[in-house]
């Protein structure tokens, strides 16, 4: 039986907008508005979506980097959303993070050894300096950096190497789950492949759970088990990788997949180009939030909010089209947007 590491239910995070004469709250940015998901041991769940959809806010919320508006976050069976920061402190060992920019997320005044020793010391994971040194050495092996590099400064490393240091620092706390917030997005193509392979190896070796936040759909498909697609603060579709990429059940997912340029010149496929931009999360549209850009929107979409519905095979989507008879549903009975023939 696999262990459930993280369970999030109905998570909301609304950022107040200050303004007016007295600096009062004049509105809210509905960054995350009712998001639920879970991650098991050894599993990777990807959160995908375009900028401003709230995927990073979800990551920061489960890390408790700021207080939540409402909702529950359960880490290894313990509710952490309403915990005081003092009680939460020792539990922070269980959930660690790797950020996007390896240049700004390492302290330039600490040597690599100190960067990696900090979490070990903080959580009391070693009894002596010698033990710390040994652990730091093992971490360097794990992320495939030479052990003698521990005495160097962050600026002496390339972007990919720094991201390895960030991963080693996350592993130093011996976590159960790692949040990767666009962890490979800033890296060059060839370096990206190295880090993706490293993350996959580490997961297999250590049985880590991973919340992989990314906008790069090809990488997501390559390395995750399940995928959740976000749009304007809500999850519109969740499914296994194969289901989602093979037969998307939400028009947004379908359009997103068809918009990714593929490295196959002349590949024949149908492209759905969405019109317009993502609406503002300050004033999300009523009804289905995607209806302003959806090519299939009908009356009901403008009034009624669709709920996430399971198709019976664990594939959930929030779309009214699935209440129509199957032959009238434009999402069904067609070739997936990811299947293309090379010309």
């Amino acid at each position: 039986m696999t262990k459930r590491v993280l369970e999030v239910s109905d998570l909301k995070k609304h950022f107040p907008i200050r303004g007016g004469l007295l600096g009062g709250t004049v509105g809210y940015v509905y960054a995350v508005d009712g998001v639920s998901f879970h991650i098991d041991q050894g599993e990777t769940l990807s959160l995908v979506g375009e900028s401003g959809c709230g995927k990073s806010t979800v990551g920061k919320s489960v890390l408790r980097l700021f207080p939540l508006t409402s909702g529950q976050v359960v880490l290894n069976g313990k509710r952490i959303d309403d915990m005081s920061t003092g009680t939460l402190r020792p539990l922070r060992r269980q959930i660690q993070v790797v950020f996007q920019d390896p240049f700004s997320s390492l302290n330039p005044r600490l040597r690599v050894r100190e960067i990696l020793a900090e979490p070990i010391r903080n959580f009391g994971l070693a009894n002596s300096e010698a033990e710390i040194d040994e652990k730091v050495g093992q971490l360097m092996d794990k992320v495939r950096l030479p052990r003698d590099a521990v005495n160097r400064w962050p600026h002496e490393f390339s972007g990919g190497q720094r991201q390895r240091i960030c991963i080693a620092r996350a592993l130093a706390a011996e976590p159960d789950i790692i949040v990767c917030d666009e962890a490979v997005s800033a890296l060059d193509v060839s370096v990206k492949a190295q880090i993706v392979n490293l993350l996959q190896d580490l997961q297999a070796e250590l049985g880590l759970a991973m919340l992989f936040i990314s906008h790069d759909l090809a990488i997501v498909e390559h390395m995750t088990h399940r995928v959740a697609v976000m749009y304007l603060g809500q999850i519109v579709e969740v499914a296994d990788r194969k289901q989602l990429f093979g037969a998307p059940r939400h028009p947004y997912t379908e359009a997103l997949l068809s918009a990714v340029p593929v490295p196959m010149p002349g590949a024949a496929r149908e492209r759905i180009v969405l019109q317009g931009d993502v609406p503002s999360p300050i004033k999300p549209p009523p009804g289905c939030r995607f209806h302003t850009r959806c090519p299939y929107a009908f009356d009901r979409c403008r009034k009624e909010v669709p709920r996430l519905q399971d198709n019976g095979a664990g594939h959930q989507a929030a779309c009214h089209l699935h209440d129509l008879p199957a032959e009238q549903n434009p999402l069904l009975n067609k070739a997936p947007p990811t299947a293309f023939r090379a010309a």
Partner: protein, 337 residues
């Protein structure tokens, strides 16, 4: 070449060398790069950060400050060497015959001028239009790049537009004077995928309607496959491979290109069961501050031999229209030199 391209030659870059003097030696950002662009053609220059692709673009428009930069070689635009042109002549060319789109639509527009003023600026400068004429043309341009309500948008400021809309304004500015060559430096990198799809579609449409040649600089192989006719692959300041887009993706001949193509996962991989490990290119790009004696890719190449470390491979036609700089790339369909 089997299929002759008869379109007239527009730009010829010949042995371009752009070096920068730095505190710890000369940085050979671009070191002997040659390529050409024909009228109406789309050429992509691909490579990873630091390979010299953006410096190449900046060099064409002579936007490199000298010193610390130093540009050598020849850049012939319609037969005229831009490196020998006076500053005045260059000003007449920039934004008029050759224009450029930059990566960051957020920072490359002037926040205190309206969209209309920024589009009109090039028109008034190069074509001597009056303010009224320029605004009318600006509205026309905004319509062309698909901005709704152009009459209102023309008087608005860049901060009132989204990222995708701002990039459309950038394209409108670049195309206002009907340039013969458009240089686009990572035009969609800062945009979301659905917006990227809109901009790529727009660039393809505009190419047929306006007929400008495009040099697109990118690191995204997907974008290359979608828009380019011909591709130049750069590595460590050199051109390592050049081919028509179909040939390059079908049979990459340089080990670096092969590695690059192997290291990107393809969408749809979970359906075909191709979710094996990604190919890695081990190691790092070499420092450009030291002279590299042999092949620039030798330190990371899986097929490296003593020959590669000692002798730089010449760019050679390995197949019709397909050039690569590798001692060991297979030769097909052309007489080996």
């Amino acid at each position: 070449m089997s299929e002759m391209d008869n379109r007239p030659m527009l730009l010829e870059v010949d042995n371009l060398q752009t070096h920068f003097r730095t505190m710890d030696g000369v940085n050979r950002a671009v070191d002997g790069v040659s390529f050409h662009v024909r009228s109406g053609e789309t050429l992509a220059i691909v490579g990873e950060s630091g390979c010299g692709k953006s410096v190449t673009a900046m060099s064409i428009l002579r936007l490199i400050p000298e010193p610390p930069g130093k540009i050598a070689g020849a850049i012939r635009f319609q037969g005229k060497d831009l490196l020998k042109a006076s500053d005045r002549e260059m000003r007449d060319i920039r934004g008029n015959e050759i224009s450029m789109i930059f990566q960051e639509p957020m920072t490359s527009l002037n926040p205190v001028l309206t969209n209309g003023q920024q589009i009109g600026e090039t028109l008034r400068l190069h074509q001597g239009m009056s303010a009224q004429q320029a605004e009318a043309r600006a509205i026309e341009m905004l319509k062309l790049v698909g901005i709704p309500e152009p009459e209102r948008r023309v008087r608005e400021y860049p901060h009132q537009l989204s990222g995708g809309m701002r990039q459309r304004v950038m394209i409108a500015i670049a195309l206002a004077c009907n340039p013969k060559l458009l240089i686009a430096d990572e035009p969609t990198t800062a945009l979301d995928v659905t917006i990227q799809a809109q901009i790529l579609d727009l660039m393809r449409d505009l190419k047929t309607s306006v007929g400008a040649a495009i040099v697109i600089i990118t690191h995204d192989l997907g974008v290359v496959a979608e828009v380019a006719e011909r591709v130049v692959v750069m590595y460590a300041g050199r051109k390592v491979e050049e081919a028509r887009v179909g040939d390059l993706f079908r049979t990459p001949r340089h080990p670096y290109t092969q590695g690059l193509l192997g290291s990107v996962p393809k969408l749809g991989s979970s359906l075909t069961g191709e979710t094996t490990r990604l190919a890695e290119i081990p190691g790092l790009v070499p420092s450009l501050k030291q002279r590299i004696p042999g092949c620039v890719f030798a330190t990371r190449c899986p097929k490296v031999t003593e020959l590669c470390r000692a002798v730089p491979p010449a760019l050679q036609e390995k197949a019709p229209g397909h050039i690569a700089a590798c001692h060991y790339a297979e030769v097909e369909g052309v007489a080996a030199a």
